[in-house]
């Protein structure tokens, strides 16, 4: 298969299929042992400087915010990220812990572009490679399949392809041009779910975004959960298990773990908090003040929750609406 075109971006994480297989063979424990631990323990044990991290879903929606804040408190640096995000990526960038992003979309949707992303990339501090949203997920899917690449018809003919690390080839079956996306194996995946048992069997309500793919593309997987439930409950509804325990390395109990983002059927996004952050993020000093108060100023997620206030969180619960 001749390569017709190559994206010129650096491949921040090379697909290492055999390496991944060896890793999971050696490290993924199939015995039923409790992986319940604090966020401090999970991050200290599983995240290293220089790791390639992925988060799911994104910033304001079922995002692993409590774990992200802990990664920042522990100052894990020279991170590389798969960038589909908002608040979580803004915080990691604001803490100056990121060297490179495989970016698809980092912005505030309704409220516009990210000032923190702008400062980080326009100053030349953070390197980028661009991908479509589908492409990033299919890269996880390739990793989840255990293969080095996956073909797609996205990104063809565009600068998005040119500034990615994809390659265009002629399909050996049909002769058509296809873009090959390199599998994206994560060093660490962070996912926030509705319910998990202590072993790591997870249930998610509502859309599952790319949790299925990201969980299976992660060498190490930290799961935070709103609720810890009995394994008996999990086994009653096995069709709801999107992540089985043997993929998981740590389970952290994190009520309101997605705050200030939403958690469907549980609590709505904290608009006031998000808007204040968004305003603050336009200014370097105010961004720092936010980080000092909400990230560095608390010891753990429990303190964060107390800082936000139970009344406010209860109110967000009433705002989410039913099914």
């Amino acid at each position: 298969m001749d390569v017709l075109e190559s994206g010129i971006a650096e491949l921040f994480q090379k697909p290492d299929v055999w390496g991944f297989r060896e890793w999971v063979h050696k490290h993924k424990d199939k015995t039923l042992t409790s992986k319940l631990m604090s966020e401090q323990e999970a991050v200290a044990k599983l995240v290293k400087d220089g790791d390639y991290l992925g988060t799911e879903l994104y910033g304001t929606v079922r995002a692993p915010m409590s774990i992200t804040r802990e990664v920042i408190r522990q100052g894990k640096k020279h991170l590389r990220l798969a960038g589909q995000g908002i608040h979580e990526i803004d915080l990691l960038l604001a803490a100056d812990l990121v060297d490179a992003i495989d970016i698809t979309y980092v912005a505030w949707e309704v409220y516009g572009i990210s000032s923190i992303l702008r400062r980080s990339v326009e100053s030349g501090r953070v390197k980028t490679a661009d991908w479509s949203n589908g492409a990033i997920t299919w890269r996880f899917k390739a990793a989840a399949m255990g293969v080095p690449f996956i073909p797609t018809l996205s990104m063809l003919g565009t600068d998005t392809l040119k500034h990615s690390a994809a390659k265009v080839v002629k399909c050996p079956f049909t002769g058509q041009k296809v873009a090959l996306l390199p599998a994206l194996f994560l060093d660490v995946g962070l996912i926030h779910v509705h319910r998990a048992d202590k072993y790591g069997n997870c249930q998610i309500d509502g859309i599952s975004g790319f949790a299925f793919e990201l969980a299976r593309a992660s060498k190490k997987l930290i799961v935070s959960a709103e609720q810890i439930i009995d394994t008996e409950e999990i086994k009653k509804y096995p069709e709801h298990t999107i992540i089985p325990y043997f993929l998981v390395d740590a389970v952290v109990h994190a009520p309101y773990g997605s705050h200030p983002g939403e958690m469907c059927y549980m609590y709505w996004r904290d608009e006031e908090h998000l808007k204040t952050f968004l305003e603050d993020s336009k200014d370097v000093a105010k961004t720092k003040a936010y980080m000092d108060k909400y990230v560095y100023g608390v010891k753990n997620h429990e303190e964060y929750i107390n800082l936000i206030g139970k009344d406010r969180l209860k109110k967000l619960e009433t705002m989410i609406g039913g099914r």
Partner: protein
């Protein structure tokens, strides 16, 4: 006739392009409002698809993002991004509704950078799902809130999302699915389509009070003008009432 603002008009024009019993892949912002309005007006069976996995939502409440819980409220399915994107890739999705910072005469869009790629003068959000949507949906509709020479430009700083690329046949040459591509552009000044032969953008209708010259002057590239330029009907009383009372009562956009 009630007073209305440009954004309200834009939403109404975009909404009228949405057809009942089709799937519309909807990006964040104006497309969501247009879809919500369409479902309450002429297209109750419009299937609204959001990239993170919500398909067929009731659109009773305006989503604030393409993954929030309102994107699958009373929906027919809530799965994940692969399902939605792959539906489009295998030809199930008729329309894609997108926004952009810059558009060129072939309907290509930029949402990635202003200036050179890295480090850029301005780092914009990136493709998100836009590139996927415009690669795979049968017809793509771009919604541009501000029609001026900085946004309707000759050369994009970065081609994020494919229109007709560099002219007739070039989408197919690049490997994109045949018979797909840009269909309409809705701006605050009017409605554009594309010349069948040259695949270049062509003015089809202006908004009331807007002249053809005004559209041409506010476009950096040479805007083709249809033989007969129509006029977009202003928002009806019914459209405005639904838009203000039901679609965006919190005035997030309008």
């Amino acid at each position: 006739m009630s007073q209305y603002n440009e954004t309200e008009f834009l939403i109404c024009v975009a909404s009228r392009l949405m057809q009942d019993r089709t799937i519309a892949f909807v990006g964040t912002g104006i497309p969501m409002l247009a879809a919500s309005l369409a479902k309450k007006m002429h297209a109750p069976n419009l299937i609204v698809a959001f990239e993170f996995g919500g398909t067929g939502a009731s659109m009773e409440k305006l989503p604030l993002g393409v993954g929030d819980s309102r994107t699958f409220h009373k929906a027919v399915v809530a799965i994940g991004i692969c399902d939605t994107m792959e539906n489009a890739q295998r030809g199930f999705v008729e329309y894609g509704f997108l926004g952009g910072a810059q558009i060129d005469m072939y309907g290509n869009l930029n949402t990635t950078v202003i200036g050179k790629y890295w480090p850029p003068k301005v780092r914009l959000p990136g493709s998100g799902g836009a590139n996927d949507v415009a690669s795979h949906c049968w017809k793509t509709i771009a919604i541009m809130r501000q029609h001026d020479t900085k946004r309707f430009i000759k050369k994009l700083d970065f081609l994020t999302t494919p229109g007709f690329l560099t002219g007739p046949g070039t989408r197919e040459e690049a490997g994109l699915p045949p018979n797909t591509g840009p269909y309409r552009v809705v701006s605050n000044l009017g409605l554009m389509g594309y010349c069948e032969k040259s695949k270049r953008m062509m003015l089809l209708a202006t908004n009331p009070g807007v002249t053809v010259e005004q559209v041409v002057k506010n476009t950096e590239f040479e805007m083709l003008v249809a033989e007969k330029v129509g006029m977009n009907e202003p928002p009806s009383e019914k459209e405005l009432k639904i838009l203000r009372k039901d679609v965006d009562p919190d005035k997030l956009y309008i």
